[in-house]
Symmetry: C2
Subunit: 225 residues, 2 copies
């Protein structure tokens, strides 16, 4: 009767890399990249900042692990029997949506030589480029182009999300941007002004996919497929 604690009270699970990464993701999603501090993380895990360093080497590793965890979840498990073109679209859209849901991913690039969290994306794109029938010598270029485009869009969306006032939705943001563009110097920004109107009824996902299709078209035009 005395040897057992009276109220079991669900003792806190011990700290683990996994729990730390999950907590970091939760903070990043709610408070953004600037909200993730070791103090905030420690508080959420009901411990001190120092404890985290036993499981994780520092903030860079933490951000990398969080990115890898989220990206892994959207990677396809089996190869669906669709065309490579469709598979690339699905894959790219998965990454796009992941960055949309977790904008902080967009700023994360590989830092460790070789093995970045985004290497999984590279791998899966590569398989589809192979399936397209691109010659071996051109596969790297083709995959790189797709990957850089996807991460380029992601980086931009992340930047947009960061400066978003929470009270400003996407439509309002586009509308503001369109107004700014229409007001630019007619000499210096002649082209930009001509496309300002388009901006207002823009769908980000549609536009993103148009770019993917463009690159896939370039791949098949140049390398066959």
């Amino acid at each position: 009767m005395a040897t057992r604690a009276r109220r079991p009270e669900r003792r806190e699970e011990p700290l683990s890399r996994e729990r730390i990464v999950e907590a970091a993701i939760a903070i990043l999603d709610t408070a953004g990249e600037s909200g993730l501090t070791f103090r905030a993380l420690a508080e959420r895990l009901a411990t001190g900042p120092g404890a985290i360093y036993w499981h994780v080497s520092g903030k860079d590793e933490l951000l990398g692990a969080a990115t890898e965890a989220v990206v892994s979840r959207v990677m396809p498990v089996g190869t669906a029997d669709t065309t490579p073109q469709d598979a690339i679209r699905t894959l790219a859209l998965g990454v796009f949506d992941a960055i949309d849901a977790h904008p902080w991913i967009g700023t994360q690039r590989g830092r460790t030589p070789g093995h970045s969290p985004m290497l999984r994306v590279f791998e899966h794109l590569g398989r589809q480029v192979q399936a397209l029938g691109v010659p071996h010598a051109d596969q790297f270029s083709a995959v790189s182009a797709l990957q850089h485009y996807i991460l380029g869009v992601g980086g931009q969306n992340a930047a947009n999300a960061r400066e978003h006032r929470p009270d400003m939705d996407r439509t309002e943001f586009l509308s503001t941007t369109a107004a700014v563009w229409a007001d630019l110097d007619p000499e210096e920004y002649a082209f930009t002004r001509t496309v300002a109107a388009e901006l207002r009824d823009h769908d980000d996902r549609t536009e993103f996919l148009a770019g993917i299709d463009l690159i896939v078209a370039g791949i098949t035009a140049r390398f066959g497929g």
Copy 2:
């Protein structure tokens, strides 16, 4: 004789936004993004940190202004009489080299709605896409694809530069990466392993241009040109 200071001693020029931005660029180039602090900047300008805030609203604006200053310099002044394809290559390569010389640019995305430092790149790409004969309705997509690709590569190069030990040159970096890739799990990273060898004799600029050509090929294939 007494009204004039005896040693003219080249009195420090007064602080100005321009001088501050130049000093910031110099620090960014030598010490990297983490080296740019208001204290370091103040010391270089022989003043206190607070003085800088009279001319610049904060660190974000400072980074934006520095990016804009560097990007402006590589923008073409007149329209050379080449093909649009060549003009796009030249333009893209200019941005690529600028990011290579100033890696901190690679992480800078537009944050102010509408007018980012990279809008000049967008504008000049747009003019060439017009010259390619792309229909108006497709111009935005075409320019976006090029821009996102260019900034995607830039972001990656910036990340690589950041984690570079200064003693590790590009060849060594590629070689290390190739070794890591060749050692990956054969199931999980089947494709990546097959292109690991290519990595060793990679030229970044050539590879970058191959991607540009791919997208331009896609643009002309889909939208004519």
